[in-house]
């Protein structure tokens, strides 16, 4: 469904600080896949997600969605297909608007907005039902300003907003990393239940090896802008944490020894 072809992204291209963030990435994402993405800092995980969402444009390569190249579409135009949840719980919602106003904005994701009323009565019922499923009591706070909610509540709301209209792809960028362990657990459980119930194609960046193994049906490891490991299905299910850690550090050891040679 989604194909990246020789997808390349530089930062500060042409300057002394040039960084090759994504190097000729080839990746095919099939409908219904739940992919977890791991890699060390600077591996290109977030850059990959940002390129998919349209925050960054690639320097070369293609991004095909159902046969159409959307690599250079602006972010707002892709919103029809793509929704995302950020690491920062404050980034996904509007603090000065109410819970129902935020949900109403999300209900119109990718649609033309006109002079119709912003929050309709029938929509309130829908929101109330959807919020009840979160089990946070937010259905009683439809008119509260989102700024009054906790980080965890805001992230749960963002998760709901991202999936209120089923997206073709859901991008999760370490969306539980900024929360305390208990809240993070709740958000991840919520993620699993929503993604499974709606069969949403999902990309989830994580720093947590356990999460990378337990969630999803495919795992990708990025390193210095390249995919160095791509495993799925039963093979992934059989993968042990030790194997993954071994893989993870193998690469870094290689580099260390290379550095040592240089220094020696």
């Amino acid at each position: 469904m989604i194909q990246l072809e020789a997808f390349t992204k530089y930062f500060h291209k042409g300057s002394i600080n040039e960084v090759l963030a994504l190097e000729k990435i080839d990746l095919t994402i099939r409908r219904g896949e739940f992919i977890t993405i791991i890699g060390s800092n600077g591996a290109g995980k977030s850059t990959l997600l940002n390129c998919l969402a349209g925050t960054y444009m690639p320097d070369s390569g293609h991004l095909m969605l159902d046969g159409q190249d959307i690599a250079h579409w602006p972010e707002h135009r892709r919103a029809r297909f793509i929704s995302r949840v950020f690491q920062d719980p404050l980034l996904g919602t509007c603090a000065s608007l109410s819970v129902e106003q935020n949900l109403a904005l999300a209900l119109r994701r990718g649609r033309r907005r006109g002079l119709r009323i912003g929050v309709k009565k029938a929509e309130r019922v829908l929101f109330s039902q959807a919020l009840k499923k979160l089990g946070l009591g937010l259905e009683k706070r439809l008119r509260s300003r989102v700024g009054l909610l906790s980080g965890g509540q805001r992230q749960a709301l963002t998760m709901l907003m991202a999936t209120l209209i089923k997206p073709d792809i859901l991008l999760l960028d370490e969306h539980a990393a900024a929360l305390d362990p208990k809240t993070a657990r709740q958000i991840l459980d919520l993620t699993t239940s929503i993604v499974n119930a709606q069969q949403i194609t999902t990309l989830m960046v994580t720093h947590n090896m356990n999460h990378a193994l337990t969630f999803g049906n495919r795992l990708i490891m990025l390193h210095r802008g390249k995919i160095i490991f791509d495993i799925q299905g039963e093979e992934k299910a059989a993968l042990k944490k030790e194997d993954l850690i071994a893989r993870f550090y193998d690469r870094q050891k290689e580099e260390l020894s290379a550095d040592r040679m240089l220094l020696g």
Partner: protein, 295 residues
């Protein structure tokens, strides 16, 4: 304060209140500090004055003034979003350019409206005493416009506008082109300012190229005074607070101008100083209040 000074302050409060709504839209809702208003207020005034002296109906001239204001705001928005000029600087550039444009429109630094029809004539003809006609008329217009803005902010588009000012990343990922929204918002704001300028010109009987000096500070002062007195929770409350903040501000100015301490009294030219002090006080007051409560 004399009765006439009071009525005059009310009148001005409502007329400039429409401008204050515009400032509220950019400064508070869109988080886009826009100084275009110092130029779009006289722009609206000159367009309206020239139109009326060429035989256009005074009410129609208000529409023309609003359209001209929208265009001025659109220029600022485009300078900022498309050419990536800092919003503050972009608005100053438009404001400066408008000085020349306004003189071109009026073919001179001012146009007199003495002896021609204005929007006040129909209501004056209805038999209402002259000193009441103006405040009633302007209050009606200002309240109607405030109502329209409240309704607009509750629409899908209005909500997108509020979200753009609050969290541009969020609303972009909901599929909204923030550049378009900023164009619309800053345009609408300056349309209100142009409309207000047209009414000011008709009220005082002349359009003048320098009448816009200090508009932004008066607007900001009114917004802050309104928020402090009437609160800012909710769309309707915030918009009404902006309008009535303008009325309170004009009353406060009238009071200050009437103060006599021995041989000292304020001149109208002290207005800018008084306003600046007022804004500083209003900005600092909540902090001092917070500190006192914390003790």
């Amino acid at each position: 304060m004399s009765w006439y000074a009071f009525i005059g302050a009310l009148e001005q409060g409502f007329v400039y209140g429409i401008m204050v709504l515009g400032v509220y839209l950019t400064f508070r809702v869109l988080d886009f500090p826009d100084l275009t208003v110092d130029g779009s207020l006289p722009l609206g005034a000159s367009v309206s004055a020239v139109a009326i002296t060429h035989g256009v109906n005074p009410f129609v001239s208000l529409g023309l003034a609003a359209a001209a204001g929208f265009a001025a705001g659109a220029v600022t928005a485009l300078l900022s979003t498309k050419l990536k000029i800092l919003h503050l600087l972009a608005s100053i550039l438009t404001m400066i350019a408008l000085y020349s444009i306004n003189i071109r429109i009026m073919d001179g630094p001012n146009v007199s409206l003495l002896g021609v029809d204005t929007v006040l004539d129909p209501i004056a003809a209805s038999g209402l005493p002259g000193y009441l006609a103006a405040p009633v008329m302007y209050a009606g217009i200002a309240l109607a416009i405030t109502g329209a803005i409240i309704l607009f902010l509750n629409t899908e588009l209005g909500q997108a506008l509020m979200a753009t000012g609050d969290n541009p990343q969020m609303i972009t990922s909901q599929g909204v082109n923030t550049d378009t929204i900023i164009l619309l918002g800053v345009g609408l704001s300056n349309a209100l300012v142009g409309f207000s300028g047209a009414l000011v010109a008709q009220n005082q009987g002349a359009a003048d190229v320098n009448m816009g000096v200090g508009t932004i500070i008066a607007g900001l002062a009114s917004v802050i005074v309104g928020e402090t007195i009437f609160g800012k929770e909710g769309i309707a409350r915030a918009c009404l607070a902006a309008l009535f903040g303008s009325v309170v501000y004009r009353l406060a100015i009238a009071l200050a101008l009437g103060v006599e301490l021995g041989r000292f009294s304020f001149n109208p030219s002290d207005l800018n100083l008084i306003t600046a002090v007022l804004v500083v006080m209003a900005l600092v007051a909540p902090k001092i209040k917070g500190r006192l409560q914390a003790k």
